[in-house]
């Protein structure tokens, strides 16, 4: 089975980093095949940015995502642009503090950036909260693998902060489930 995830938003939100973390968690710690690619504009901040992770038990040839099983949108523009790439049963997760027009009520709406600021005082861990929620909602990665991968990729001084962010993400992911209309 080929699983395609796209993590999108704007430059500076750390989407490429969480793509790497997800790929490392699933590939190295969970032992599956992974390919991670990225695409971004020439701007250091702002502009479009996305990171894609393909997960499979088989060899992965084409490295890009086209029919998404999972889409994370950390701004309105990316949600508008990529929503139609989502499969019928694909999971849409949006940062509801930045995405105000959600195309479907079957979306997990979690205010990652607001939570990062209010709960942890650091807006920049919004991406880690998001990857925590992704793990909880999609079950594509083991919690322990994800924690290990996060800690490997972030600076040591921020380990506690990131652990807290992951935990918040997982809890919020669980809560958001209740608001999803049942499948069918």
């Amino acid at each position: 089975m080929r699983y395609e995830a796209r993590l999108s938003g704007s430059g500076g939100q750390g989407l490429i980093l969480i793509g790497i973390i997800l790929a490392e968690a699933v590939g190295i710690y969970d032992g599956k095949n992974v390919v991670q690619t990225q695409s971004y504009g020439p701007e250091a901040r702002g502009g479009a940015s996305k990171s894609e992770v393909i997960i499979s038990d088989e060899t992965i040839y084409y490295p890009k995502a086209t029919h998404l099983d999972l889409l994370l949108c950390m701004n309105q523009k990316s949600c508008d642009e990529y929503y139609l790439d989502l499969k019928k049963d694909g999971i849409l997760i949006v940062d509801s503090s930045l995405v105000h027009q959600v195309p479907t009520n079957k979306a997990y709406q979690i205010p990652f950036t607001r939570l990062a600021k209010e709960e942890l005082g650091k807006a920049f861990v919004a991406n880690i909260i998001a990857i925590g929620a992704i793990a909880e909602i999609s079950k594509i990665v083991k919690e322990s693998s994800l924690t290990e991968a996060v800690l490997k990729r972030v600076p040591p001084w921020s380990a506690d902060l990131n652990k807290k962010a992951l935990k918040i993400g997982m809890e919020e992911g669980k809560k958001a489930e209740a608001f999803i209309p049942s499948k069918g």
Binding site: I20, I28, N33, V34, V35, S39, Y62, K64
Partner: protein, 378 residues
């Protein structure tokens, strides 16, 4: 056998590891998207192995510096993308005529000029071959995966050392920035080739004298062998000449050494080609789309295979001709307006129908793009 440990590695990072494993101990370069991670990686890795990293003022200087380092006996490389690669051309020609081994990575992005800095392209294929002027042989290799970024970089150094020729490592943004799970082969399992050095006493050394391989032994500056290096056409002692017989001898030897080595230099992958009725010829990231397309086509009962040249130059004429004779159509998808396909058309003597598929919008060619083209012939 040593235990394989898997790592999540980027194409550019694997190029760095390949270079270090091949014995590269000097890097001079100037950062440019999408090749910057090679310079970054080298600046970290080279000091660990007593190597030298220099961030230069520009790409002209970078190319000059690696030629100098190589003449001093150190395996050297630089890495760049289109705009920087253009600046390097003059000195690449110098390395060709003075027969200085070196490796230049060209990570292709959209052009011309500053172009599309962060998007992939394959539009330097002809520039890698003919970017520098004059009748010169050159070797160009193109990896399509992270693992190959490692192994092909090792091969690039080996060929460069063996034939005393600059080798261009040409791939695109997708392969360079892509991360895959890889287990790099242990150092002991790799063949590492070093340039031949003179064994005669210094007084007897004739630096550009022909031999059976067409590759004269190369002494390092400081070894005590005095000789002259110039970009001018030179005689066997390295001094400028315009004597027709000496000029002809040099230019023909430069070509002969590569022509004789074709079997060793050329490498390609045949994917599902045994019974293929239609072949896709693709390289770098597009080869991955091609493989996916071939698998999807076969699920549909269509016998499609992929030929993937790893050696882009010298052009793999023998292989391509053989393929053209055995299939009824060839599809050549490229992220340019048709550079490699022109070479395929050049050798097609009416054997097979050739269909080009060109994308120049800064996006990767998808398997679906290829399958749509396939419908025209199958």
């Amino acid at each position: 056998m040593a235990k394989m440990t898997y790592r999540l590695l980027q194409g550019n990072e694997a190029i760095v590891e390949g270079a270090i494993a091949a014995g590269c101990r000097f890097f001079a370069g100037y950062p440019i998207t999408p090749a910057t991670e090679i310079a970054e990686g080298m600046s970290v890795r080279l000091p660990m192995v007593d190597g030298t990293f220099v961030q230069m003022e520009d790409e002209i200087g970078s190319m000059g510096a690696i030629i100098g380092a190589s003449l001093a006996g150190v395996k050297s490389m630089t890495a760049t993308s289109g705009p920087g690669f253009s600046l390097m051309q003059e000195n690449i020609g110098f390395a060709c005529i003075a027969e200085v081994p070196c490796v230049v990575a060209d990570i292709m992005r959209g052009g011309p000029s500053t172009g599309l800095p962060t998007n992939p392209a394959q539009s330097d294929i002809m520039q890698t071959r003919w970017g520098t002027h004059g009748d010169h042989p050159i070797i160009v290799l193109s990896p399509h995966s992270v693992e190959e970024c490692f192994t092909v970089t090792v091969k690039a150094f080996n060929l460069s050392e063996r034939y005393r020729v600059p080798v261009i490592l040409a791939t695109d943004e997708v392969v360079a920035h892509m991360r895959e799970k890889v287990a790099l082969p242990p150092r002991e399992s790799l063949e590492i080739i070093d340039r031949l050095r003179p064994t005669v006493p210094p007084d007897w050394y004739i630096p550009f004298e022909d031999n059976s391989m067409g590759v004269p032994p190369m002494s390092a500056f400081g070894d005590g062998y005095r000789y002259h290096v110039t970009g001018l056409v030179h005689d066997v002692r390295g001094f400028p000449t315009s004597r027709p017989d000496e000029v002809d001898t040099l230019i023909r030897r430069l070509h002969r050494k590569i022509d004789k080595g074709l079997g060793y230099i050329q490498e390609g992958e045949y994917f599902l080609m045994d019974d293929a009725e239609v072949a896709i010829i693709a390289y770098s990231s597009v080869a991955r789309s091609a493989k996916q397309a071939a698998i999807m086509a076969r699920e549909d009962g269509k016998k499609v295979g992929v030929f993937r040249p790893i050696t882009l130059w010298p052009f793999m004429r023998k292989d391509v001709e053989e393929i053209l004779k055995n299939v009824r159509a060839v599809i050549i998808p490229e992220m340019n307006m048709g550079q490699y396909s022109r070479e395929v058309k050049r050798v097609d003597q009416g054997y097979a129908r050739i269909i080009t598929l060109n994308r120049v919008d800064g996006q990767v060619i998808t398997p679906d793009d290829i399958l749509r083209k396939l419908k025209e012939v199958y």
